[in-house]
Amino acid sequence: MKVLDRKKLFLVNSILLALLVLSAAACTLLGPVRLDLSQALTHLFSSNPDAEILLRARLPRVLLGVAIGGGMAACGVVLQALLGNPLACPQMLGVSGGASLGGILGIIFFPNWLLPIASGRLGEISWIPLAAFLGALLSMILVYRFSLFHGRLHPYHLLLSGVILNSFIAAVIMFLNSIVDFYQAQGLLFWLMGSLSTRAYLTVGFIWLYILVGFLWLWSKGVSLNLITLGEDAAMYLGVEPGALQRQVFIASSLMIGAMVSVSGMIGFVGLMVPHVMRLLIGSDHRLLLPASFLAGGIFLCWADTFARILLAPAELPVGIVTAFFGGPFFLFLLYREGRRSLGL
């Protein structure tokens, strides 16, 4: 095992962090409508339109985008390592399907219900993310149960049960979609496509807390993740207990994914692509790869969401379209370049 290059770790992550902060600031200032920053800052906490655009409509959304982008990318990294499969991504785990189903049941059965926090003093949050999170937890337990044999989570079973649970749930969702009324069905489809639209700082704070804790915990497993990519047996000889690592990483990433999908729906591609891009750019030492992917995922989704708001203004595009549209070709380009390099071309 190579010693961690601390200088590289520091350098890469501080550059990415600086880029992330700049991107977040830029994305808060950009949008389909013009924002008068001086107006917004002078009337920051009154009911001024510019202040509301800045503080209510944009800032929470940008903060949520950074958290979700980072969380998705970090989960992608660990899942690809854990399952030994380059196609692994957060949407694959069955958890995202469960969250979608929960959310959809929430939309159908209590569409506009709001839950007061601290009897309304801290604002209100919607029931829908809670229902989605419950769905995520249930599907996580199911997938876990179906892949756990003799204390070991089998990657093969984990992948298959996740994919199959997702297809099953997709069928249930399509069924529900065809029995609800037409306009509600349209609403469900819009929700399923995923959006970072939010004005609730409470939700954003909750997601950040959740993702930061999950991320730091996953990061602390960096060395073990490096070893598990050598294969379970090799990892075991080197002092990693594969069973425990698999269980912990699965539960941690499932909880993170569940929380993310509950709030923003299925935003694809970030969790699949960002880890690969970062691996191509900085190598696959998880102690470096995890924080770098987190930061890069945040930058990527933050910009993708800004484009989603601007491209067809005033209409807002589903952000998943933008992530796939810009991310896909870029990833293919990197892959091609790397392929040539490894062949000495």
């Binding site: 509301e52 209510r56 506009n112 209409a315």
Partner: protein
Amino acid sequence: MICRSRFFASRFFLGTLIFVFGLAWSGNAASESIPRRIVSLAPSITETVFALGFGNRLVGVTSHCDYPAEAKRLPKIGDFMSPSLEVIAAKQPDLVIGVAGATDPARAREIERLGIKITLVSVSSVSEILSSFKHIAALLGDPDAGATLVEKITAQFGKVKRRIAPAPRRSTLLAVGLRPLVAVGGKNFLDELITLAGGENIAGNASQPWLNLPDEYVVAKAPQVIIQAGMGSDASRPTRQWSDLKSIPAVKERRVYTYNSDKILRPGPRIGEGLEEIARLIHPECFNVGKSRGARGSRCEGSGS
């Protein structure tokens, strides 16, 4: 795999049907003039056929067709998005009516290939909706019924127009979904209804008929009235969902309303009533003249314009 084999099975089944019915129909093709067995592929079409007085000729409607009450008891041919070809064919209709842009064109062609006459009517503007009534009435052999229906709706429009005439235009957001926010854009008959009701659609310049709007756009456009689909228990307190955006006049002045009916959304014979419903929400003061004359803030006049 399963889907594909079912698809082929249905193709085969259809092929047989085409053959059998083709034989059956070729005999009486000449005598077929006025359709007696109609299948409707959209709730608005069902309403139109009933409003024209031919509800008794409907032999199949979609599962979304719930108005008038008699429509609920009619045989269902599947839902609005995916009507079943087999069921339609089994009803032996002599006319199928769908909506251009909503009825799947591939499905429409397949119905045509079965030898069944199918008409798709356009309903993307008010004038198209009104001519769709005349068109359907003519197809059913009673053009007068179409003219009468158009007259009735035109009269309803005129009544609303007179009511709101003195009032200033109010910028309006008409939302069909809230999470995420889906609004009525331009090129949509609802955009016209907002204008006819004395409002001005804040998303009317969009090229999409329905669009997902970011919150910041609504804040920037500062609508004076917000009308949104009301489902669930919270319909009674619609302002609540906007309470953090107090700079929006509609929120500040508590002009956020929910609608709870298909009257507004269906491009059918109830658009006259739908228009009145929208106008009542945009200009409530113009409809309360008798009740609260002289009360503060309830004047219906053009002081602002």
